[in-house]
Amino acid sequence: MSRVTKFAAQDAGPAARVAGFMAHLRANGLRLGAAETSVALHALTAMNAYSPDECRNALRPICTGCKEDVDQYDDLFDAYWMDMGRVRTRAVPKLQTKGNNDVHSSRDASGEAGGSAGNATTPDGGDGEAESDGEGKLIATEVRNLSRKDLRDLVRSEEIAEAERVARKLGEALRDCRSRRRIAATKGDRLHFRKIMRRSLATGGEPLQLLKKRRPDRTRNIVTLCDVSGSMSVYAQVFLAFIAGLMRADQKADAYLFHTRLVRITETLRDKDAMRAIGRMSLMADGFGGGSKIGACLDRFATTYAKRFVDGRSVVVIMSDGYDTDQPHVISDALQKLGKRGCRIIWMNPLKGWRDFAPVTAGMKAALPHLDLFTSANTLSDLAALEGELTRL
C-alpha cells in the first residue's frame, strides 16, 4: 500500500491540496502567505509532480525561510502528504470562528495545581532537603518539572507597561556610537557631497553651503537569558515582566528562557497582545519551575544562537541565582566562549540584594571572572536604577 495520503473526492484538485498544505504549515508556525502558494504551484508545474521526493525537494526552498523551518519541514511534509494512505476529508480547512490556539483563557488552563513544587521560597522537593532542614538553604535540583505552569498567573499587564518604560530607559542608557554609515547632520565630521552638489546648482555650481554628515548613534542589542528554574520562581515575575516590556520597547532585543533546557522566546513575545504573548510563552516553557542546568544552557546558547545573534554590539543579560546542578567549570567555559563574541555580559542575581550575600555557590564563583557587571535586581525599580551602571559599560 502506498504511503501517500488519499484525498476525498469533494476536494477541488491539486491547487486546493497545495493550499491545504500551506495552511497546514502555517498552523505549525511557518510564516507563509498567499504569494508562496502561487509560487509553489508554479514550482510543481516545473517539476515532475508525480514523484513525492521531487515534490518534497521542490517545495522546501519555497516553504522554508530559516534553518529552524528546514529542520521541521520534513516531518510536516510527511504528516500532510504521507499519511499512510489515510483519507483526508477536507484539504482546505474551514475558517476558524472560535477556539484560536493563540488565545487562552485561564479557565481551561489545566494540570497547574499539581505542579506547585517550585512555589515560593522552597525549592522543589526532588530530594526533600528543603523540607527536612530548617536553614532555608536554597539548592538546585535536577528534576524537570513536567507539569505546566501558567506564566500569566505571575505577570500582570500593568506591570508590563511599567517594565516597558524601564526597558526603554535602559535601552537608551546603552546607546553607543559605532555606526560606520554616515547620515546628513548639521554638525558632522565629513562633507556630504551629494547634498552640496544639489545645493550648488542654485548658485551656478559654486558650492557655497558646505553640508556635513556624521555617524549616527546606534543602540546596542540586548539579549536576555532568564532562569525560570524552581529556585528562581519567586523572582520570575519581575524578570518576565521586564523581558516582555523590553521586547515591546526594543525591536532588536532577543530573549531566552532556560531551566533544564534553553528556549528562544523572541518570536513569541513579539505578539501585539502582551498577555497573549505570555500565554504562548507558558506553552513553550514546559518544565517551568523545575531544576536548573545553567552551564549546559549557557553552553548551548554560546554554541548555537550566539553565533547568529550576538556580536560586539550586544549586551547579554543573564538573570539567574547561580544555583546549578552542573559542574562549575561548565559555566565558566560557556561564558568564556560567549565573551569571545565580543559582547558585554551582565549577570543579575536576585540573591545579591540579600544582606551578607557572598557569591559562594560554585557556579557563581566560576562565573564571576567573565562578567562585566554583577548586580542585584529584585524589583522593577532596581532594574531602573541600573541605568547609571549601564552607561558606564
Binding site: 509560487v39 516545473a46 517539476m47 521531487e54 525537494n57 526552498p61 523551518d69 557631497f193 555650481g205 545573534f309
Partner: protein, 295 residues
Amino acid sequence: MERILTFHDLQSGMADLGYMASDDLAVSIHLALTLGRPLLLEGAAGVGKTEVARVLAEMHDTELVRLQCYEGLDAAQAIYEWNYQKQLLSIRASAEEGTTGQAAEERIFSRDYLLERPLLAAITKDKAPILLIDEVDRADEEFEAYLLEILSEFQITIPELGTVKAQHPPIVILTCNGTRDLSDALRRRCLYSYVNYPDPQMELAILNARHPDLNAHLAKQIIGFVQNLREEELEKVPGIAEMLDFAAALSGLGIADLSKDPEQVQRALIALLKTQSDQAAITTEVTQRIAGKAA
C-alpha cells in the same frame, strides 16, 4: 543559454564543471532558474555557497557580477553614485559657455555622469548575468531595504533619472552564514536552501573531481578523517575548501597512508584547523584516534 529541462540535467551539468550538488540543492537552483526568483543559500562557512554562483556563470557562459557585503556598505557603493567631480567641472564649464541652468541640470544628471556599482551594473547588462550578493548578513539591516526593490522587480529607482528596469533580469544568488538574522521581507522574496556539509559519498566525489590523481585508498581515508573531525568539538569546523587543502598538503608531503606517519599528518593539519585552541585540542593522539576510526 541552453534550456535546462530537469534538475537532473542541471545536476550533471554542474558536475561536469566540478560542482557536486545534492538533489536538494539542485532542485532549489533549478527552481530559481525556472521561476526567475532569487535564491538565498544559507550554511556554515566552506560548504560551497559562493561556488554555486561561479559554476552557474560558467555553465551559462555569462558574466558573474559579485557584490561582497560588509558592515557599513551603502547605496553609493552597492548601487550607483553620481560622479561629483565630473558634475562640478561640467557646471563650471556650462557657466562659462552661458548655457541655462535647466540644460546644465539635465546634462549632469544623465547616464554619463553616473558611476555604476555592482547592482546597477547587473541589471543593465545585455546578457543576463549571475548576480552574487555574498554574505548579505554582514551588511547592515538598512542595506537589506535597498535590495528589496531589486530582488522583487529587478529594477532600480534613481530619483534624478527615473526607474531603470532590467531588460535581461539577472539570476540572483544570495549567500549568508548566520552572522545575524535576516529580515522576513528579504527572506520572503527569495527561495531558500540550507546547505549542509556533504555526506561522505558526495564529499568523496568532490575530492575525486578536484584531485583526480589522488590514490583511492588515501582519498577514502581523508574523507573519513574529515567527516569524523567535524564531529569533534571545534570552534571552526573545517569546510570543503579546507578538506581540499588538506588533501593537497598530504600529497605535497608525500603521505600515502594517514595512519603511517603521525608527525607529518599532524603538520598537515594546519590546512584544516584554523584557530589556536582547535590546534591545541587536536593533539597527535586525537588525530591518530580519528584516523583509526576513519580507516
